[in-house]
Amino acid sequence: MPIAINTPLSDKVVAKLKAGDRVLLSGTIYTARDAAHARFGDRPPFDLKGAVIFYASPTPTPPGRVIGSLGPTTSSRMDAFTPPLLAKGLTGMIGKGRRSKTVVAAIKQHKAVYFVVPGGIAALLSQHVKKAEVLAYPELGAEAVHELMVENLPVIVAIDSKGNDLFEKTAG
């Protein structure tokens, strides 16, 4: 049975999550990818404590819908930016693929969690988004930071707060 959790993520909830767990995530999350991370510096446009970043940028929203298609981009491109954000309170990340050893260590040190969602099923995943708006950097177009309200977004714990890494077995 998947574990239902809400954002902002509490230390207690994060401590219980184990690599391999199926999770249904609800609440506010933020999209950010390469260009947004490059702009963050040490001041992202949202409160980092308990926050979850989704490495994603949606397609344009069709009339009558909440959002276009939405799915993960490759997380490792954000590796260099991640440890300082974790040090400042970032608690969860959602993306696809492996993270560097440095990021795994930082996740363990700051008791955070890294989730994965399948890539290439973005029409399906978009059905879990109930509200969406551009929060910052509208000039980045697709890469702007969006604030999303998600309901039961199905994610998998890939790296837990103890540093267990689901991808260790298939390391390239």
Partner: protein, 280 residues
């Protein structure tokens, strides 16, 4: 001479943008069903089913299969007996991409400058590969190529006496490196021969072949089957979380090369393989 106007090219490209991004090919769907026959990992089976489910939602709701609607890579086989009026072919193709990505509400994913970044705002310029062919028809193929999988592609200049095993190891190593990042199960396009520039185009063209079809030459078909089996023993699986289904297809194209060379290129494609073509 048959006359065609640039607006006919533009309209065809526009229609292909929408179709490619919202309708998963029957060949990929068949390969997913085939994979389900052999896949034993429950998680992998679940994801294979989700991919098929996503294709249904995308087609029904006219939503993009993937949020990364890709670089528009356009293959034009232009009949020598066609006279194009009203402008240039490149303008006509780019206008089709511009209109298609706008009307289809597809994501604009082209950075205006590779170093300074920014965004061109309309997903142009397309990458256009033009070939003159006999006849009075124009065939246009559109591959919407996602960035995550493209990033994991590789090219290597081998020497002529390299054993085939070493080439196969290079392909498998490239698939391993791509791993979970490139959205497996993958479609793998391989070019062998030519030179530094032509081998990568050959690898890309290998992706255009109908999934499930092998090369007409027996030796290359054998190599495709061998690499397919070996790749599916790597254990990467859908999403990289384990399983038998790491690749849906391995397609190889080859051409002659210099006596000193043996170039090999591996173009990685995700399961959301968006290729459509039309003939005018």
């Amino acid at each position: 001479m048959r006359e065609l106007t640039t607006s006919q090219i533009t309209a065809a490209v526009q229609a292909l943008c929408l179709e490619a991004n919202t309708c998963l090919g029957e060949d990929v769907k068949a390969a997913l069903s085939e994979a389900l026959k052999y896949e034993t990992s429950p998680d992998a089976r679940e994801l294979l089913r989700q991919i098929s489910q996503n294709a249904e939602v995308a087609r029904h709701e006219k939503l993009p299969l993937c949020q990364d609607t890709g670089t528009a890579v356009v293959f034009v086989e232009f009949g020598q007996e066609v006279h194009l009026t009203g402008g240039t072919l490149a303008e006509a193709v780019n206008e089709g991409v511009r209109q298609g990505y706008q009307a289809g509400l597809l994501r604009k994913s082209i950075a205006a400058d590779p170093l300074k970044r920014g965004n061109t705002g309309d997903n142009t310029p397309a990458i256009v590969h033009l070939e003159l062919v006999p006849g009075d028809q124009v065939k246009i193929g559109l591959l919407c190529k996602g960035g995550g999988a493209e990033n994991k592609s590789a090219v290597r200049m081998f020497t002529p006496t390299t054993p085939v095993k070493e080439i196969e190891d290079f392909v498998l190593e490239t698939i391993k490196q791509a791993g979970p990042d490139a959205c497996p199960p993958l479609i793998v396009g391989i070019g062998i021969g030519g030179n530094f520039d032509s081998v990568t185009l050959l690898a890309k063209k290998a992706l255009l072949r109908t999934v499930g079809q092998h090369h007409s030459a027996a030796d290359i078909a054998e190599m495709e089957k061998s690499l397919f089996d070996q790749a599916n023993k790597l254990g990467i699986g859908p999403m990289g979380l384990g399983g038998r289904t790491t690749v849906l297809a391995v397609n190889i194209e080859r051409r002659p090369c210099h006596i000193s060379s043996l170039p090999v290129a591996v173009n990685i494609e995700c399961h959301a393989h968006r290729y459509k073509h039309t003939v005018i």
